[in-house]
C-alpha cells in the first residue's frame, strides 16, 4: 500500500501520532479504504479485525 495513495495532508497528520501501533494501524486502514474507493460496499471487517489483532497482539504498551 503506497503511502502516496493517501492525501499528504492526511498522512502528515498520521505521522504525528505518537503510538506507533495506532499510527501504523491507521495508515493501513486508510490505505485499505483508498484502494476500495470505487467499490460500493466493500468487505472491510476481516481486514480491520486482522489489523486490530495484529496491532494489539504485541505486549508493548
Amino acid at each position: 500500500m503506497k503511502q502516496s495513495d493517501v492525501n499528504r495532508l492526511i498522512t502528515d497528520e498520521v505521522d504525528q501520532i505518537e503510538d506507533s501501533d495506532v499510527k501504523q494501524f491507521i495508515r493501513d486502514i486508510l490505505a485499505f479504504e483508498r484502494s476500495k474507493i470505487d467499490q460500493n460496499q466493500p468487505h472491510f471487517k476481516n481486514e480491520y479485525e486482522d489489523l486490530i489483532k495484529k496491532y494489539t497482539a504485541e505486549d508493548d504498551d
Partner: protein
Amino acid sequence: MTRLEFKTIRLKNYRQYAGEQEIDLTSRTGRLNIIQGQNGAGKSNLLNAITLCFYGEERRQDDSDEDLESLPYVTRSVLEELDDGDSLSGYIEVELGTDNPEYIFRRTFSTYRVDSGFTNQIGDLTLRRRVGSEWKEPDNPNTHLNQVLPATVSDYFLFDGEDLDAFFEEGYTDRVRDAILDVSHIELLNTSIDHLEKVQTDIERKASNLEGEAGELRDQIDELEDELEEKESELSTTKSDIESTETEIERIDRKLQDISDEVVRDLYTEREELEEDIKEKESKIEDLQKDTVELMVEAGPVVYSSEALDYTLELFNDLSDKGQIPPKIQEWFIDELVERGECICGTELSEGDEHVKHLRELQTDVSEVMEENLEGKSEIPSMKKVASGQVDQIQDRRQQIASLSDEIDSGKERIEEIKNRLKSYDIPDDVDIEALEDNREQLESQVNTLREQKGRIEKEIEDIESKIDSTRTDLHRELEKEDRHQQILKQLDFISDADAQIRDIKQSILADIRESTEENLEQYFNELIWKDEEYDITLYDDYSIAVFDPHGDNKIGSLSAGEKQVLALSFMAALTQISGFNAPILIDTPLGRISSEPKRRIAKNLPKYVEDTQITFLMTDEEYTDEVQAMMQSSLANEYLLEFDNNVTRVVSHA
C-alpha cells in the same frame, strides 16, 4: 506530489475519429494543452473517449441531435462497408505518466451491424504498466486505474465546463461537501471511522460472550493439589518405611554374612543341629513317657495287688485240688440226673418240680462260681505274665528315657560351650540364625506389603495428577477466554484510540482544508471574475458558501450563469490544492457560458491556479479566440485542431 499527465491519446475508428489518430500531449515546457474544435467536431467525444476507456462509459452528450447511445462507437464511414452480422472494432488508448509514460490504458470496442441498426460492444480495460525498463500487463487494470483516478472523483478532473454552472444550483452544499471530502480524501477518514465503529460493535458483542469459570476451576485445582500433597507425603513415608525395613534386612544379612567365617559357621551349624537333635529327643522322651504311662496303668494294679492275686490263685488251686472246684464236666452230671429223673440221693426228679429247680439253681450257682473260679485259675497267671512283660517294657523305656536325657544334657552342655566360643568372635551369643531368618522373612513380607502400598499410592497420585492436568486444561481454556476477554478489551481500547485519533485528524485537516478551499476559492474567484469588485467568500461548516459583495450582500443566490461557472471553476481549481489524487485535468468548454469579455480574464488567469497539474482544454472557436490564445501562449504545451470534414474528424497539430 508529482501529478500524472496525459502523454498520448490514441484513437482508432472511435466515432468521428476514423482510422488511427494520435494526440500527443507531452511537453517539457508547458502544462496547458488546447484542443480546439467546433461543436460536433468530436470535441466532447474526446472527453467521452477517455471516460469510455477508463470507466466503460461515455458521459457527455454530443451537441448533435442524435442520441449518442444509439450511435455506433465505430466510425460510421468505416462501418458502411460492413455486411449484416459483421463487426468492426476500434480502440481507445490513454497513456499516462510523469516524466515518462507509465500507464497505457486501453479498451477496445466493436460495432456489429444488425438488421437496420448497430450494436456496440466494449471489451475489458487492459493495462500495460512500466516496471523499471519493462512493460508488464498486470492482472488488475482497474485496481491500478483506481489508484490513479477512481470513477467517483473523475468528475472533478474530467468534466464539461458547461455543466459547471449547475454545480452551484440548488442543493450545492452537498456537492461542495462531497467534492471536498472526496477529493481531499477526508471521506476516507469518514469511512474508516464508520467501519471502525461497526467492527467495534461486533467485538463488543464478542466480549459479552466470554464469561469465565476460572475461579471455580482454580479452587478445584487447589483441592486436588492438597490431596496430591497428602498422597505424596504418604508415599514419602511409605518409601522411607521401605527403606528402613530394607536397611533392617540388610543388617540381618550382614549379620548372617558375618557368620561366614567357616569356624563360626560350623559352630552355628553344630548348634543348630544340636538344637534340632535335642528337640527330637525331647519329643521322643515324651512319646516314651506316654508309652510308659500306658504300661504302668495296666501293669501297676497287677503289681500292686500281686499279693491278693497270688493268694486268690493259691486258694483256687487248693480248692481245685480238694475237688471243690469240680471240673466243668460235672455240670452235665446234674443235667443227666435231671434227665434220669432221679437224684443220687434217690429223690425223684422231674422238670418243674422243686427239686429240679433247686438242682438247676445249684447247677447255675455252682457253674457260675465254678466257671468264674476256673477263669480265675487261668486268668490270674496270665495277668501276671502280661504284667511282668509290661514291667520289663517299662524298665526298658525308662532306660531309654534316661539315656536320651543324658544325651540331651550333654547336648546342652555342648551348646553352652559353643556359646562361649562364639562370644570370643564378638558375635552376640543370642544370635539365633533361625530367628534371624524368621525375622528376615517377616521383614521381607512387610516390605512386600509396603511395596504394594507404594504402588497403590503411586497410582492414586497418577490419577490425581491426571485430574489436575485436565482441570488445568479446562482452566486454561477459561483463562484463554479471560485472556481473549482481556484481548478483546485491549482491542476495544485500541479501536477507541484509533477512532479518536482519526477524528482528531479529520477535525484539524477539515478545518485546514475548508480554510484553504475558502481562501483559494476567494482568491481565484476574485481574480477570475470580470467584475472590478472584491468579493468575500466564506465557506461555512455546513458547506454552504457565501459570496459577499462589497456591500456585504451574499450574492450566491443571484449569480449569473457565467458567474456560477466562474465560481465553479474557482472551486475546481481550489480543489486541486487539497487533492489527494494526482490526476491531470481535462475540461471541455471551460468558458462555455461566459461572455466574451470575462473570457479574456479567465483565460489569462486560469492556468495560474492549477499549478503542478496538466490541464487540457477542449475549446470551441468562440472560446479560443486569438486573444485567448495569445494570453495562454506562455503556458501552452500543445495545440491541436479538430478538423471535421465529411463526418470524420482529424486531429491536427496546430503549432
